[in-house]
């Protein structure tokens, strides 16, 4: 078949002339077409040609095919496999390829997340208002930054504790600064070790020397930030969470230092003294103030605290008030005469008082009422007793004796002194009761006048001076004696009235007399008749006869010599008053 394309065909030795002629004719008739077909057939079997041919139309085909997603679907598994293989074989290529998009993509994702966080924070913070919050709001407004960002910035708590400037090549510490109270290890050793670790990390991970450690993190709170420079490294030991802005500051500081020592770097021979001049700069970097956010306390808490304080305060105030009233009451009770406190206690908020009280003392309930302590909270028990001070003895005496007007009583050392003018009846009472009054040991009554007794004596004297005379031998008084009898009747009536008042018994003896002349029997009768006759005359004058007694007493015995005038004086009736009462002496 290969030879079929030849134009100048020759007869094959195996061919018969017929066959040759037939073949020649065929060649003449469809030779070009056959040749063309054979070429196509060759192309179909030639992969190189096919690849060339397809490559001419592939892009066109894909473009056409991409109008629906058939090609994408068909290619996807192959692309996945190819990509995987590529990453396994040479990750760098793919890293290089996607790095330009990966960086921004990650940044974008972080920014988006942060923004979301900030938004929600914003939302929360917007609802909280405080002086500090207002300040931050103002700052946010001025700097045209989100409020939340300012808050985040302001509330970060951190402290730059140590800064080392380390010579990169040798790991030697050029200069260092540390915050107050930070315990320092030997910086040379630390820096050496840090440098070693840096080298170790680079060696271990086959770093090309471009990527360096930039942060070491320890037990949550501490971290070491490493800022790399061409010649020197800044190592910063930080406690807490610093803002990223600090990085920029450190970077600027390191750049400045590099610039400062531009000439020294190449010939650095381990002499670090020149670097001491940047120590103030490092110290300045340490001087990052700690920003401790004050915890906002809910107003509710304040109200609660205020309420509790108020309640406690009121309690204390009330309790103090009660205590003051209580002690004042106790003071008053102790000072009160006639009251003796035995017990004063507080039990479960109740007040309890026990004591003695003289009946004459002021009522303690009055003091309790005046103390303004709630009556329900106070319980008092009083036992009666007699106070023995003079004042109380006096009061008691007055209470018992009820002295009338005109009488003055006083007590001194148990002696009751009574003066003034009183009725006989009261004086009798005084004498009967006074010494049985508690505390009264004696009575002195020298200056006490018995007015009734004086009247009695005066009346007695008057009555006993009234003599009723008789003519010789007569039992009836002379007519001129009526006045005397009137007077006697009047006096007797007065005496009887006084008798009731003084509670004494008054008896009046009407005594008849006769002169000594004549027979004694006659005289005796005569004298009796004379007494009886006057008694009758008194009775006629409404004198109670029960108070009178008539007796005769003739003058017998010794003869009296005398004139008739003298004898006349014997013929009479006299009055004798008798008062029956033990205590009272009626005779002077």
């Amino acid at each position: 078949m290969v030879e079929a394309g030849r134009k100048d065909s020759k007869r094959e030795p195996s061919e018969t002339p017929d066959v040759y002629q037939w073949r020649e004719l065929r060649d003449l008739l469809n030779g070009p077409e056959r040749q063309h077909l054979e070429e196509i057939s060759d192309h179909l079997n030639d992969p190189v040609y096919q690849a060339k041919a397809i490559s001419k139309v592939l892009s066109e085909a894909i473009t056409l095919g991409s109008k629906n997603d058939r090609i994408a679907k068909a290619l996807q598994p192959n692309i996945d496999v190819a990509l995987k293989a590529s990453v396994q074989k040479n990750p760098k290529a793919i890293t290089d390829a996607i790095f330009p998009v990966l960086g921004p993509a990650i940044r974008k994702a972080i920014v988006a997340t942060l923004m979301r966080m900030i938004q929600s924070l914003n939302h929360t913070l917007n609802q909280s208002v405080s002086v500090r919050g207002l300040q931050w709001r103002w700052e946010a407004f001025r700097s045209r930054r989100p409020y939340a960002e300012i808050v985040l910035l302001k509330t970060l708590i951190y402290r730059v504790e140590q800064i080392f400037l380390i010579h990169r090549r040798t790991g030697v510490v050029l200069v260092q600064a540390a915050a107050d109270l930070v315990e320092l290890q030997d910086p040379d050793l630390i820096s050496g070790m840090l440098t070693a670790i840096q080298d170790f990390v680079n060696d271990s991970f086959r770093n090309e020397g471009e990527e360096m450690l930039d942060t070491l993190r320890m037990d949550g709170d501490h971290s070491v930030w490493i800022e790399q420079g061409a010649e020197a490294v800044l190592c910063v030991v930080i406690r807490g969470t610093p803002p990223l802005e600090l990085r920029d500051r450190l970077r600027a500081l390191l750049d400045e230092i590099h610039h400062l020592f531009e000439k020294q770097w190449p010939q650095f021979d381990g002499d670090v003294s020149a670097f001491a001049m940047v120590k103030p700069k490092l110290e300045e970097a340490l001087d990052v103030k700690e920003m401790v956010p004050k915890r906002r306390v809910s107003p509710l808490i304040w109200i609660l605290v205020a309420a509790i304080v108020a309640i406690i305060g009121f309690g204390v105030w009330f309790e103090y008030g009660q205590y003051k009233k209580w002690t004042r009451l106790l003071g008053l009770l102790r000072a009160e005469p006639g009251i003796v406190l035995l017990k004063s206690e507080r039990e479960n908020g109740r007040f309890l008082i026990e004591g003695f009280k003289d009946p004459q003392a002021r009522d303690p309930e009055e003091l309790i009422t005046r103390s303004e302590i709630d009556a329900e909270n106070i319980e008092s028990r009083w036992l009666p007793f007699y106070a023995m001070d003079d004042d109380f003895i006096l009061r008691r005496s007055e209470e018992i004796l009820q002295p009338p007007q005109g009488v003055v009583m006083a007590v001194a050392h148990g002696v009751l002194d009574v003066s003034g003018e009183a009725s006989h009846r009261w004086i009798k009472r005084l004498e009967r009761h006074a010494t049985s009054i508690a505390g009264v040991e004696n009575i002195r009554r020298n200056l006490l006048i018995d007015a009734d007794m004086d009247s009695l004596r005066r009346l007695k004297r008057d009555l006993e001076g009234q003599d009723v005379y008789f003519s010789t031998g007569r039992s009836e008084p002379d007519s001129d004696q009526d006045k005397v009898i009137d007077r006697a009747a009047d006096l007797i009536r007065q005496l009887l009235a006084l008798q009731a008042q003084m509670e004494v018994m008054v008896r009046i003896a009407v005594i008849g007399h006769a002169d000594p002349t004549g027979k004694p029997d006659f005289n005796f009768n005569l004298s009796q008749q004379r007494a009886t006759s006057v008694l009758r005359l008194l009775t006629v004058r409404k004198v109670d006869p029960l108070a009178l007694s008539a007796t005769g007493r003739p003058e017998d015995g010794g003869v009296v010599e005398g004139t008739s005038r003298d004898l006349e004086l014997f013929r009479k009736v006299t009055f004798k008053l008798m008062v029956t009462e033990d205590q009272v002496k009626i005779d002077d």
Binding site: H167, T170, V172, D188, M193, I197, D199, F200, D271
Partner: protein, 166 residues
């Protein structure tokens, strides 16, 4: 003040660490050797009237499992090669390390400390070996970490070399 980084290099178990233990200020424990491969100590001394802080990088000894990391040598001012006098092979290893060090950071002042000289009975060093070192213009000082013999002079000598004290 002058601070110089120096490295102590040698085969495994030649007594590098013991050599300095008594004579330097140290805050790190031995475990750094097996983890990071280096432990850093400091020695303050006075050389020609100037105070010098030697920052001593005590590198983990070279053995079948761990090689000395050449990156640790960067920035050094000098080396102390420590050789165990009772093991001839440690000298070869030291020389091999020196070759690598010279290649990595260039030729620097160096001293060979021939350690364990207290173990005379097991001494394996020949006079030829010492001569060969002398040809390389490297001072050799015999030391004993056990007795403390010549430990200070090693540092003193290296410091003087480093500071080019005549």
């Amino acid at each position: 003040m002058i601070k110089k980084k120096i490295c102590m290099i040698g085969a495994f178990a030649v007594g590098k660490t013991s050599l300095v233990q008594q004579h330097v200020h140290s805050i790190f424990s031995e475990k750094y050797h097996t983890t990071v491969g280096v432990k850093i100590d400091k020695k303050t001394m006075v050389v020609a009237g100037r105070q010098v802080d030697l920052i001593i990088w005590d590198l983990h000894g070279e053995d079948d499992f761990q090689t000395v990391q050449m990156s640790y040598l960067r920035g050094s001012s000098g080396f102390i090669y420590v050789v165990d006098g009772t093991r001839r092979s440690t000298l070869d290893i030291a020389m091999k390390l020196k070759g690598r060090a010279d290649q990595a950071v260039g030729p620097l002042p160096a001293i060979v400390a021939l350690n364990k000289c207290d173990l005379e009975s097991r001494w394996e060093m020949a006079t030829d070996d010492i001569h060969r070192l002398a040809q390389e213009k490297i001072p050799v000082i015999q030391t004993s970490a056990k007795t403390g013999l010549s430990v200070e002079p090693v540092f003193q000598a290296l410091a003087e070399l480093v500071l080019e004290v005549p």
